[in-house]
Symmetry: C2
Subunit: 229 residues, 2 copies
Amino acid sequence: MTGAALDRLTRQLGYTFRDPQLLARALTHRSAGAANNERLEFLGDGLINFVVGEALFQARTAAEEGDLSRWRASLVCEESLARLADRLKLGDVLILGSGELKSGGFRRASILADTLEAVLGAVYLDGGFAPARETCLRLMQELLDQLPDAASLKDSKTRLQEFLQGRARPLPLYELLSAEGPPHEQWFTVRCRLADGAEGTEGRAGSRRGAEQEAAEKMLQLISEATHA
Amino acid sequence: MTGAALDRLTRQLGYTFRDPQLLARALTHRSAGAANNERLEFLGDGLINFVVGEALFQARTAAEEGDLSRWRASLVCEESLARLADRLKLGDVLILGSGELKSGGFRRASILADTLEAVLGAVYLDGGFAPARETCLRLMQELLDQLPDAASLKDSKTRLQEFLQGRARPLPLYELLSAEGPPHEQWFTVRCRLADGAEGTEGRAGSRRGAEQEAAEKMLQLISEATHA
């Protein structure tokens, strides 16, 4: 880890550590030894959840709790945190054990996302709540400014149900057609149909719920196409 | 809601609201109308999780992330929050719609726990992070001082696995014996056995995982009795 790379990280974070040891700890993956970033990750995870939740609460004054929760889950997830970590080039300053180093751990999304959480946990320990909140919001601002449509974050079964209720149609029916394969690798096929229609769709997945979601998604496409036609 | 009851609540919380309307909002269940406490509950839930997590991080400097997570989950759950709400007599100052009022909503654990979250969310909005953190810690202090043994919080399958690994015995095997009943009310029976032993236990539950947990718990009892005998 070079001084130049750390200076760049500090600049991009917009926060200078009083105790640089805390930052070094935050950048140390558990594969590199006992003095690693797992506890800081726990702290940072709670911080990000709260700070992003509060930002959504303040920005969307008319949104219901369910939408706030779904937005938060979409922002505070491995995928989006790993992307932010990537922008900060955390992979370049990560301290990994030799095994993770060889297997490319510096590119792994879960390690990058956890490290970002640990860095924010370290900012909180080093500087307190206000600087940690500001740093977190600076990193998340772009995502907060470009929130997806709340409805698009609902799962397919929920969206199908709401679509039908809005048109005073009966609820969809899900029927398990088959469950095949050995116990630990079962494969489920589910049919979704509407009591007032002849339409039927099928979903297949490794869990019953997954198969229902797929069948619901197909039904949504089928009936929204029919509605727009 | 009488002034005396509110005064008592304020004293017990140890926090006086600058804006009493925020407290009133926090005490209003969704059954009482659109201006309810659901958004404040979302805010307070994130606050409590973060503050309790940080308190555990600070108090248990040698604990691993997994133990911190399990402790937090045991402290920040409906059951313990409802008990704290009960101690604050939130049921006496809760504002409910007539339906919930008739059906005894002021005693319902989920409503009490949600209301406590909303009250802490309101303290945060009214006074900022430091007072909200202090209020939260004051309420949770007794629970934080009496943390259960970390091992006792692990689920039965995990505890059984660790018990066996500590004795260099092979992992337990779980076998699905039957799945009965109609699709939405299936009932699973699972057998747990040890590859190096003749012992076997059975668990039955409405989910496969639940049945495995029950079988594991029985196996733990069986072999720890045998060990102590």
